[in-house]
Amino acid sequence: MKRIVSILIENKPGALARVVGLFHQRGYNIETLNVGPVFDGTYSRMTVTTRGSENDVEQITKQINKIIDVIKVSDLTEGDHHEYEFIMIKFKHSKKIQEILKSLNGKIHEKNKDAMVMSAWGSSSEIEAAIKFIGKVNLLEIARSGSIGLHEGEKVLKI
């Protein structure tokens, strides 16, 4: 089952490598990874999507929690949550691609005589479906932000 793990971590050199290294060390895969500084900039929030059973994810979150730089870990998929992913695509003019992206809050950033650049965002399953549907024809380049998410309701991952 797909899991979204959110991690609040010290924004220090090497902290990201400790988390990424741990996934490999303990035999788990990272599907997507997003990281950026939050609050006063001394913290970072990471969002990792991975696959595993409930036991696997319990073990992953416990092991991540042991990393000294990690402040809090939460498995968003345990409860209700919001989750989105952002993509940017460069493609040769294609009505099909343009329409797919438009249906996902698409925005045109650049348009020239051969190609265009668009962004879009949606739930990761929507993004996955869109990428599949777009296929390879006319596609030049694609970048994904990886999932980010928040708990629904009152629950928060804060200092």
Partner: protein, 578 residues
């Protein structure tokens, strides 16, 4: 007064109470070595290989309970320290390993003796620091010791670029009164609700077993463990790392459990209805096939590390907390409880265990038997050693058959006396570890039980022992082969001894010991064993290397049947399953 980075480091180590630094100098560490020269508080022990430095610091820590400190230079110095770091990491030993690093502006340029120590050590340390500002050194040292010694202990690396110890750049020394890290607050006290549940479950048990591991020793909770069992009167087993946590002479002690555990300990685990796991982690050398582990047991698991709980075996009642505090709470709750122990059930259970012991227990009097074998049996060497030292020695070991024989036959009644690499299984650990122990307890007998395979992995430390006058006794159980490898080849590979023998090319260990300035003794006849050991231990101020030739065909038993076996499935002797 303002200090250089090197002097800040030494001042910080002094304030942490460090007595010994085990190390080896090199370019990137030279400023630090100059600072060492200028002070008198910390004694530097010059090893002959950085692996020896980390193992010696580790041995010192295991014996004293204090953190061990090692200092190495960049590049090969740092990489040589990795095995020792991994050894300490697997057994949760608090070490602070300081590595020199190339100058900051050279980092990333493949400069001479450069290696990414933070990166290369990451999977085998609890935490690591790289010094970016010289004035941070005191705080980093303080944080490193705090992290290494609290919660589940472990090794910490401090990587110091050479320019951060430049003698011409001076800074104020500042030490914080207390260390508090917003991202690190290990749990100390157990949850009272869990303690209540555990007490209820334990008191209503008919076939309880206490399964105690290295966490009891690391957490200084052996007295509490004894107190707990004064109330419970349950059979107790210790893991390889836990030997000494519960006194071996106690009538409720069943010996070690697991791969080479005693028949009664493994049978008791398999048939238990409640297993009280204390500071133990259900390692694969304990559980055998996890799906077949103790089918009828409810598990109470006390551990300071939440990630150890329900990792391999699901815990019915998890208790996260320091072992000592958790046991104190549990004892209090049991005393307060109205539930009475079922004494009849417990008597039957203890009777059953003694019957198992009679049936297939270890023979602790092999040394008295004249005809057990024509050659010296390795088990007998350990039994004779036990008597020669009155069971009071500090014993380190390397890895393999000799390690298991010590675990089985040297009865440890006190914690910390048994020093071995349980988790990583590092050959070469025994001699340098013994140096650390001997420095801490110079008047006591310190023995390194080893094999002719293991001892050659860190043999160079014999030179260190001469320089610092460390009269360790080395008992080399010499079967002219990598015994445990050969045992597996006998049992699983049709006796094809692939790359496990070298009888034609072993050194003359007596001459070797002598050339290092020590005393060497060789024993080949049964009749000479006892008197040679007595003679060796009478030479209080000399390192004696006793090379004992033993029966090369001897195997370690019991041995769990694997794969697809449970804890009740054991080889009892050659070709015989219980």
């Amino acid at each position: 007064m303002k200090l250089s980075g090197g002097d800040l480091l030494m001042r910080a180590l002094k304030d942490e109470g460090v007595k010994f630094i085990f190390g080896y100098p090199g370019g990137a560490a030279l400023h630090i070595y100059d600072s060492i020269f200028k002070q008198k508080v910390c004694e530097h022990i010059l090893v002959r290989h950085e692996q020896g430095a980390t193992h010696a610091a580790d041995g010192y820590s295991r014996a004293t309970g204090k953190p061990g400190v090692a200092l190495v230079t960049s590049g090969p110095g740092a990489t040589n320290a990795i095995t020792g770091l991994a050894t300490a990491y697997m057994d949760s030993i608090p070490l602070v390993v300081i590595s020199g690093q190339v100058q900051s502006h050279l980092i990333g340029t493949d400069s001479f003796q450069e290696t990414d120590m933070i990166g290369i050590s990451r999977p085998v340390v609890k935490h690591s620091f790289i010094v970016q500002n010289t004035q941070d050194i005191p705080q980093i040292v303080q944080e490193a010791f705090h992290i290494a010694t609290t919660g589940r202990p472990g090794p910490v690396v401090i990587d110091i670029p050479k320019d951060k110890t430049d003698p011409s750049e001076l800074f104020e020394y500042k030490r914080a009164k207390e260390i508090s890290l917003r991202s690190y607050q290990p749990r100390v006290l157990p949850h009272p609700g869990q303690i209540k549940k555990a007490s209820k479950k334990i008191l209503s048990a008919e076939r309880p077993v206490i399964y105690a591991g290295g966490g009891v020793i690391l957490g200084n909770a052996h007295k509490e463990l004894i107190l707990l069992n004064k109330l419970l009167k349950a059979p107790v087993t210790n893991t390889l790392m836990g030997l000494g946590a519960y006194p071996a002479k106690d009538k409720y002690f069943m010996g070690m459990l697991g791969m080479h555990g005693t028949y009664q300990a493994n049978m008791a685990m398999h048939n238990a209805d409640v297993i009280i796991a204390i500071g133990a982690r259900f390692d694969d050398r304990i559980t055998n096939t996890p799906a077949m582990f103790a089918p009828n047991a409810k598990i109470v698991h006390i551990d300071v590390d939440p990630a150890s709980i329900s990792k391999i075996i699901n815990a019915d009642i998890p208790i996260v907390g320091q072992v000592k505090e958790s046991l104190i709470a549990l004892i209090k709750e049991i005393k307060r409880s109205k539930i009475k122990i079922d004494s009849d059930a417990l008597d039957n259970w203890n009777l059953q265990i003694s019957q198992w012991q009679e049936k297939h227990g270890l023979d602790h009097e092999l040394y008295l038997k004249k005809n057990a074998s024509k050659m010296i049996l390795p088990q007998v060497v350990v039994q004779e050693l036990y008597h020669a030292t009155n069971g009071n020695a500090w014993v380190t070991s390397d890895v393999g058959q000799h390690q298991m024989f010590v675990a089985q036959y040297y009865h440890f009644n006190k914690p910390r006396r048994w020093v071995n690499s349980g988790g990583l299984g590092t050959m070469g650990f025994g001699l340098p570890a013994a140096m650390g122990v001997k420095l801490a307890f110079p008047k006591d007998d310190v023995v390194c039980v080893t094999g002719e395979g293991s001892i050659q992995m860190c043999i160079q430390e014999l030179s260190t022992c001469l320089q610092y006058n460390l009269p360790i006794k080395i008992i080399n159980i010499n079967n002219e082969a990598l015994g445990m490898v050969r045992q597996w080849q006998d049992m699983n590979y049709g006796g094809r001894h692939s790359a496990s023998t070298y009888s034609d090319s072993l050194p003359d260990f007596v001459k070797l010991a002598e050339s290092y300035g020590h005393v060497g003794m060789k024993v080949t006849k049964k009749g000479d064993l006892k008197k040679t050991l007595d003679k060796a231990f009478s030479m209080k101020d000399r390192l004696v290397f006793v090379d004992v030739y033993v029966d090369p065909n001897e195997h370690v038993y019991p041995m769990l049947v694997a794969p697809n076996g449970s804890m009740k499935d054991m080889w009892i002797k050659k070709n015989v399953k219980a």
